[in-house]
């Protein structure tokens, strides 16, 4: 565990400090309030986990939200049946989503490429449709699964009497609201990042990268690639389950729309935007999308009118009319456009952009340490 290279250690320490100091350095951006910070960390965990599958093995899953939703449902059920403590909820969520990922992965990974994407999409849609219809006793259908006064909570009842009103999630008795909730999630993000970093550097991670660049050759070399991809799939499903559980801990409620394929698409967007295959990229992507979603959705016409007030009469009306299509309700339009531009011009995401800019400055000096990850498969 301590055998990290100096660079890895620096990256990990830098990341830890950045995450823990988020309430400070996000202050000037107006994003330093617990609710948003919690979402930052939760979606970062989801994206880091997705990257273990997509970034390392190249398998593009379009059904990742299913595990996210299952994690949420499992956590809420743990709240209902066992205890309001966060730890059993998360353990339960991770185990359930892991098993779920094992089943789906075992079937889906028999195909690769676009067929894999469609299979995962089909499974996720199936889960979503079932959660809405037949599984209503478990998922509470359209209303979503919520805490109830009549919940048994056997573990809690064994130690104390039922409190009045709806309880909220705790960690060993301490409430998990506000900044406590954020630091709880942040701790898990750091752990999740650490594990992802170890996986990337390990022989197992090398194997996964080998599968991405040329699976056929890996097979010819004598490796059975199936267990490796399946392991990556399950790990990334468990990450999603953890993220779903954390979301349920910060707000004890789970709905089927978390499993819809648009939610899966969002994870893909985050990872691609930041840079698939890099460690920090997905985290940055998740933060950026959640940040701008928050900012853009809040902008309305009166803010725009003030913003464009410097323009001459008439021109400001035009500017406001055009700009209002891209903010508020239209935020997804901006997201879609940015996404298309990223895929067309910068397939490596923001991290590739950073690398290119650094490369520009480094050209005169020493040769860059990172050789471009261009892999030419030998035909």
């Amino acid at each position: 565990m301590l055998a990290m290279s100096r660079n890895d250690l620096l990256l990990f320490l830098g990341f830890t400090i950045a995450v823990l100091a988020m309430p400070i350095w996000l202050q000037p951006f107006g994003a330093a309030y617990p609710d948003l910070l919690q979402r930052f960390t939760i979606y970062a965990i989801l994206a880091v986990g997705f990257n273990i599958l997509f970034g390392l093995t190249g398998y593009l899953s379009f059904g990742h939200a299913a595990f996210f939703g299952v994690g949420s449902y499992a956590a809420v059920w743990s709240f209902k049946l066992l205890s309001m403590d966060a730890i059993p909820a998360m353990a339960f969520a991770i185990v359930v989503s892991g098993i779920f990922a094992l089943l789906i992965g075992y079937v889906s990974l028999r195909r690769s490429g676009i067929y894999f994407s469609i299979l995962t999409l089909a499974f996720a849609q199936m889960s979503y449709n079932l959660a809405y219809s037949v599984l209503t006793p478990i998922t509470n259908g359209e209303t979503g699964l919520q805490l109830d006064l009549a919940d048994p909570r056997y573990l809690d009842r064994a130690f104390s009497a039922a409190p009045a009103g709806l309880p909220s999630p705790t960690l060993l008795g301490a409430p998990l609201t506000g900044y406590a909730g954020f630091y709880f999630c942040a701790g898990f993000l750091i752990i999740a990042f650490f594990i992802a970093q170890r996986i990337t550097g390990s022989p197992f991670g090398m194997m996964l990268k080998g599968i991405k660049s040329n699976q056929t050759r890996m097979n010819y070399t004598g490796f059975n690639t199936k267990p490796y991809t399946l392991a990556a799939f399950v790990i990334s499903g468990m990450y999603a389950g953890l993220a779903g559980a954390l979301l349920a801990i910060t707000d004890p409620l789970a709905g089927a729309e978390r499993m819809q394929w648009t939610a899966s698409g969002e994870v893909v967007l985050m990872t691609i935007l930041g840079g698939a295959g890099t460690l920090v990229g997905p985290v940055i992507g998740a933060w950026l999308i959640k940040y701008f979603e928050n900012i853009f959705s809040a902008i309305n016409d009166s803010i725009l009118t003030r913003f464009f007030a410097f323009l001459p009469e008439g021109a400001d009306h035009v500017a406001v009319t055009i700009a209002s299509k891209f903010v508020g309700e239209g935020w997804f339009l901006t997201l879609g456009l940015v996404f298309v531009l990223i895929v067309v011009f910068l397939p490596g995401g923001i991290m590739e952009g950073v690398r290119r800019i650094v490369g520009l400055f480094n050209r005169s000096g020493k040769t860059p340490r990172h050789t471009p990850a261009q892999v030419q498969p030998a035909e």
């Binding site: 999409l121 089909a122 449709n129 648009t262 893909v268 299509k325 339009l333 997201l335 067309v344």
Partner: protein, 343 residues
């Protein structure tokens, strides 16, 4: 019992027709350009909104206040006259009544332009890039199209009326010499099925019996050789992309009376259509059509109350279930050629 089965069979036809038309377009694009187009559902949706737009245009009214007539409350009466009716008289009335079929005339050029612009503008840069990136860029385009429509037409479904003469149900049982009023079927669904049949037949005839189609089929089989013969195969493939967009658009137009279109109708159909393409076999046109109708009919049977009583929820997942089984047992699909995307 026979009547019940026959009725369910009929019920699956219109949805099957829509699946088949979308899957046909998807397969055309995949077979010619080798692109996995996640924006195809958005094209279906755009077509449906062409119908909405057309209807909004032709029902544009002038409001004049007629001082000679008074409403029961004593206020001057507003007289609303659709412009089309004042211009064209009776023909205008027919136009408003049959707005859905007539809007195909608007849809064809619009979708052709959108399709060709899409292919030339963005998708042509993605031929050589991995399938994952094609999926991502077309997925992004689909979001963009969807959000543009949402910002202009709003998030709610916009119902489109059926033409007056084609409402109601047809007594198909009586036509076939069975007991009357046992098998009745909405006329518009029958129209949709026939329409789908005509379009599918038209596309196949176009590919089979014209020189253009011959060249395109040759290009699908071996693009390089056709190019070496001095034929500009890229331009023909671009036109095929436009054609696929037109087919998707027309499928969307005619479906509007059955299902009021909203901005995400395309995505709802896209997921299913991909499943249809996979079941039929990637790159196989007859496979796409057959699987489209097959899955439509299967879905209709699965939503029978008798079957739902045995397997609850089967109507929600039957299509995905079939796809999973097919992909695992017969990876190249029902009609797929050996070696096409068989990984």
């Amino acid at each position: 019992m026979f009547e019940v089965i026959f009725l369910q069979f009929l019920n699956g036809l219109d949805k099957g027709g829509a699946y088949a038309l979308i899957a046909l377009g998807l397969t055309l694009v995949f077979g010619t350009l080798g692109v996995v187009n996640f924006a195809h559902g958005a094209l279906f949706m755009l077509g449906a909104f062409c119908a909405v737009l057309f209807r909004q245009l032709i029902t544009f009214e002038t409001v004049t206040i007629d001082p000679t007539k008074l409403s029961p409350w004593g206020a001057p009466l507003e007289v609303r006259a659709p412009l089309v009716q004042t211009w064209f008289g009776d023909f205008g009335a027919v136009l408003v009544n049959y707005s859905v079929p007539f809007s195909i005339l608007l849809t064809i050029p619009v979708m052709l332009v959108i399709g060709i612009a899409l292919e030339r503008g963005i998708i042509k840069h993605f031929y050589k890039r991995p399938h994952a990136e094609q999926i991502l860029v077309t997925f992004g385009l689909a979001i963009v199209a969807q959000e543009i429509i949402k910002s202009f037409f709003g998030p709610n479904p916009i119902p489109q009326p059926m033409p007056e003469g084609l409402r109601g149900a047809a007594d198909i049982g009586a036509w076939l010499g069975m007991q009357a009023n046992v098998i009745t079927y909405p006329i518009w669904r029958l129209v949709y099925f026939l329409f789908a049949g005509v379009i599918i037949g038209g596309v196949f005839a176009f590919l089979q019996f014209t020189t253009f189609g011959l060249v395109v089929r040759a290009g699908m089989a071996d693009r390089e050789t056709v190019g070496l013969l001095g034929i500009n195969i890229d331009r023909r493939f671009t036109i095929m992309f436009g054609l696929a967009a037109v087919v998707a658009g027309m499928a969307g137009v005619m479906y509007t009376p059955l299902l009021p279109p909203n901005y995400h109708i395309g995505m709802d159909f896209l997921v299913l259509s991909f499943v249809v393409v996979v079941v039929g076999g990637m790159g196989s046109l007859p496979g796409a059509v057959a699987a489209g109708f097959l899955l439509g009919i299967l879905q209709s049977f699965a939503s029978m109350t008798q079957i739902k009583a045995i397997v609850p929820g089967i109507d929600q997942i039957i299509i995905y279930l079939v796809a999973v089984v097919i992909l695992l047992v017969r990876p190249r699909g029902l009609f797929g050629r050996r070696g096409v995307m068989e990984a």
